[in-house]
């Protein structure tokens, strides 16, 4: 019994097919519970007022946005080294989810920034790094869409993901350096997660778990769709050959 068994599409389909209903229920439970708890059962914060409740969407989505890319990096590497199709399909499945999470984080951040900082957007290092991450997702998906041969596309996007990870990482630190050089320190960004009181931290942990489960559910569903699409195109190709 090893992890690589799940690289077999059949085994993967069986396992995820069994797992998905439970995962969906778990997602609904944790995400719904966390959001309800966070939105309705916690007091307003002193300085933030009720805007503090954006926290429950903003932080988990940002967390997923970054970790979706990390997951894509790992699965791309596995594809390049071990040539497991499920792996690269999972990377492809995770990309749109990660991109949407990046957008959600940026959007909720803007909505939060308007009342708190008085601006929708500032060239703060964190915000900028996220915008760049969004561009990386965009390029990755565009490359997938542009190439017809699935294996060529898988190889090229995986190489892009590896190189892109290095540059995304570099950009993140470059941006910190750049914004400090311009604005004398990132005075706008507070490390929120570390400074929240327990009242807010517990529901936040719950929504974090909810977003992780949501991400897993979506990636599984999308990977299954990709696998089925592959099977379908293989069938069509075989049919055409026979005819």
């Amino acid at each position: 019994m090893s992890l690589w068994e799940y690289a077999n599409p059949k085994k993967f389909m069986e396992t995820t097919g069994w797992l998905l209903p439970w995962l969906t229920a778990l997602t609904a439970l944790t995400l719904g519970g966390g959001l309800v708890w966070g939105f309705f059962l916690t007091p307003d914060a002193d300085r933030f007022g009720s805007t503090v409740k954006i926290l429950y969407v903003h932080v988990p989505s940002a967390f997923i946005a970054i970790n979706a890319w990390v997951m894509m990096l790992v699965t791309s590497l596995i594809w390049l080294v071990r040539r497991h199709h499920v792996s690269v399909l999972a990377a492809r499945a995770a990309a749109p989810v990660g991109m949407v999470m990046t957008l959600i984080a940026l959007f909720t951040g803007a909505v939060w920034g308007e009342p708190m900082w008085g601006t929708w957007w500032a060239w703060d290092p964190r915000l900028t790094a996220f915008l760049i991450l969004f561009l990386f997702y965009l390029g990755y998906l565009a490359l997938w869409a542009a190439i017809e041969n699935p294996d060529t596309a898988a190889d090229l996007t995986s190489v892009l993901c590896l190189v892109g990870s290095v540059f995304a990482f570099l950009s993140r630190y470059a941006v910190y350096f750049w914004a400090q050089g311009l604005h004398q320190g990132a005075s706008l960004s507070v490390d929120r997660a570390q400074h929240v009181a327990d009242v807010y931290a517990y529901p936040l942990w719950l929504t974090m778990a909810g977003f992780v489960f949501l991400f897993l559910t979506l990636v599984f569903v999308r990977t299954r769709t990709e696998i089925r699409a592959r099977r379908l195109s293989a069938l069509v190709a075989r049919e055409r050959k026979a005819a």
């Binding site: 760049i132 561009l135 990386f136 965009l138 390029g139 565009a142 490359l143 542009a146 190439i147 060529t152 190889d155 090229l156 190489v159 892009l160 590896l162 190189v163 892109g164 540059f167 995304a168 570099l170 950009s171 470059a174 941006v175 350096f177 750049w178 050089g181």
Partner: protein, 218 residues
Amino acid sequence: MSALLLRDLRLAVRAGGGFGLSLAFFLILAVLVPFGVGPDRERLALIAPGILWVGALLAALLSLDRLFQLDWEDGSLEALATAPLPMEGAVAMKAAAHWLTTGLPLVALSPVLGVLLNLAPAGYVWLPLSLLAGTPALSMIGAFGAALTVGVKRGGLLLSLLVLPLYVPTLIFGAEAARRGAEGLPALPILLMVAAISLAACAALPFAAAAAIRVSLR
């Protein structure tokens, strides 16, 4: 290797297209910016290093899609793949040819355009220096992007979408070095960062680009 380099240089200079055009583009950009932001000399001096860096970056981007595309279309890329020279070396030479025909002329042209944009006196040293340190990275990263999109029909737009995010660190450090230099702040450490990015890109990216080309030729 040198034969390949010379061939690419000759092609770039004689066949028209990339070589002069990206320089002309750089010039036009520097002319257009004052129309956009107004002729106020102080404002121009403030943004000159950044504008010239962005301009150089876009000019380098402009000629990238020709890097492998023409060789791909007429089959010489396949001939190169079967040649005794490893693909990594071929890619590095192509990037070097691109740098010699766009990067280096951009470096030479940048002080002239600095006059148009009222660059601060110290900037005439630091802007070309920072471009000299940074443009190799632009060419090499661009060669990687061109290698990724070599099999894509009309991949020019896709190429810019892939390459521009990768240019971010180089641009940040390069423009910062030029800006600090122009303002008389210590710029050497940042210049060294730019050079480090260039060297790392030249050392590592030929392998990634060659892998991408091999996949496309498969």
